[in-house]
Subunit: 301 residues, 2 copies
């Protein structure tokens, strides 16, 4: 039962207190796929323009990534994003953004991908997420991300999407905005009322809170690391580790969801240790498993 991701491919320029990485590869689908591919085959859907400088097949070589959903649109330009992280690394400003191909028609789900069962809809307009999801015949577990602008300006679409998904993965500030609740636990409970059976509230350096409709809860700190070079992609690689593990185990019971959140947490801790995909490209599944055991030790009492 294959794992599908739809999301962005970006040309990023990132400034942090540790340096600058110009025109490096980024985008939600890229980070997600790199992370998920440690666990499971991945079906990739995303669009670039003719200016795309990256060799994406080469990037994923040696990994089980099906790129039949990668579209190169000859008359378009690739999404670009430039951002600067403040000294504390917990906040960033967008210096510039060119949506380019992301503002055009979305990609089509290839016929060969229509039987995907595990699906991650990375952050984009909820109307597009609904359209993409409608092309999947019998999804088993669908997770989506969203952000403040959709909550503020496309709430009806987002509410419609939430009735169709199993899991919302959302930042703490956005959860509070969506639920109109400042308490994160109550915010998660409100969001569960909107449709999904699982809500994961991401709190960056403070870890995550996972709430299920049956009242089950799981709280996990971030991996305690001194290596924080570039937080870009932490959320999407968290989602990749999470969904990758679910697809690997073909299970979504509470115990599996908890381990999946822990894997997401661990993969994100590698992502932020260097710019772009630089660290994720170097590690192995064994490195991830070692760190998962260390996280278990760090949190058990």
């Amino acid at each position: 039962m294959p794992l599908l991701v739809t999301g962005s491919i970006g040309i990023d320029t990132i400034r942090t207190p540790h340096g600058c990485s110009e025109n490096c590869i980024g985008g939600s689908a890229i980070y997600f796929t790199m992370a998920a591919s440690f666990f499971s085959p991945v079906r990739f859907i995303g669009v670039v323009g003719s200016d795309c400088p990256f060799n994406i097949p080469h990037l994923f070589s040696g990994r089980d990534v099906d790129l039949r959903g990668l579209e190169v649109r000859r008359t378009s330009k690739t999404f670009r994003w430039a951002g600067t992280y403040k000294e504390t690394m917990d906040d960033r400003v967008t210096d510039s953004m060119e949506l380019n191909v992301l503002a055009e028609n979305p990609p089509v789900v290839p016929e060969a991908f229509a039987d995907s069962t595990f699906v991650f809809l990375a952050n984009t307009a909820p109307r597009l997420q609904i359209e993409l999801l409608s092309q999947i015949k019998s999804p088993v577990f669908v997770a989506a991300d969203t952000m403040d602008c959709w909550i503020a300006e496309h709430l009806a679409d987002l509410r419609e999407l939430m009735m169709k998904i199993d899991c919302l993965i959302i930042n703490a500030d956005e959860a509070k905005l969506l639920a109109r609740q400042l308490n994160p636990v109550r915010a998660a409970e409100e969001i569960l009322e909107m449709g999904p059976s699982v809500v994961i509230v991401k709190k960056g350096e403070s870890g995550s809170l996972t709430c299920l409709k049956d009242g089950s809860k799981f709280v996990l700190p971030a991996y305690p690391t001194t290596e924080v070079v570039d937080p870009t992609g932490a959320g999407d690689s968290f989602a990749g580790g999470f969904m990758g593990y679910l697809a690997q185990t073909q299970n979504t019971d509470f115990g599996t969801l908890k381990t999946a959140v822990a894997y997401g947490t661990v993969v994100a801790s590698f992502t932020i240790a260097d710019f772009s995909l630089d660290r994720l490209k170097k590690i192995t599944r064994a490195d991830i498993d070692d760190r998962l055991e260390r996280l278990r030790e760090f949190t058990s009492f």
Copy 2:
């Protein structure tokens, strides 16, 4: 081996989005003692003025609290503090503060308390903390709290104190200030170099990070609660639960320290559920133990 606390007794006026509590009992020694008394006998040292409206012996009746260190200074006035919490409850402003008796000579440690072995020095001028500690003959495990003004203005005294204590319990922002390190793990490691063998970095709603000189680490989220009415005293009751459990077990190995941090976390989650001591007065050790088991379930994977 008895547990000793030195700290403040306050007349608090607290405004939160949930209401206002005027002239209620507060102060670090009060919160600490109420929390610690669930676990261990407590020896209490603190000073009030003649205006103190509280019956402190009655407050602690039924608990094993030795009040021979409670001094009523007839010519003085009691410490007063008024504060307002913002809507998010994670920040507060001090509306007014009258140090009163806290600006005078500190209390003397009664001779009968000089053989105390577990000692908590609540936040005050580090010079006073050193003087109070010097009156204890053979301390076994000494923890102290501090705050930004001492780091900024009395750093030499604080550095001297840190050479004499076993454990510093400190807020995340203050840890960063003290260590001149923005990464919390690195900040804790720098603080360990200053003397203590244990550092606990408190992160409020985000839990805590405990680091030992031997490299051991423990990260624990806050208890996921929707009941947040008044965060005042959370830090001091955390310290009370932590030190109370250590004194109960007469042990400070890593496993015990971790359970003690979990107990502190749980007691603090009760403290914040109502104004002042209102919730702590109502609960039992069984309530605390139940919630400890729930916290273990919420965090294990």
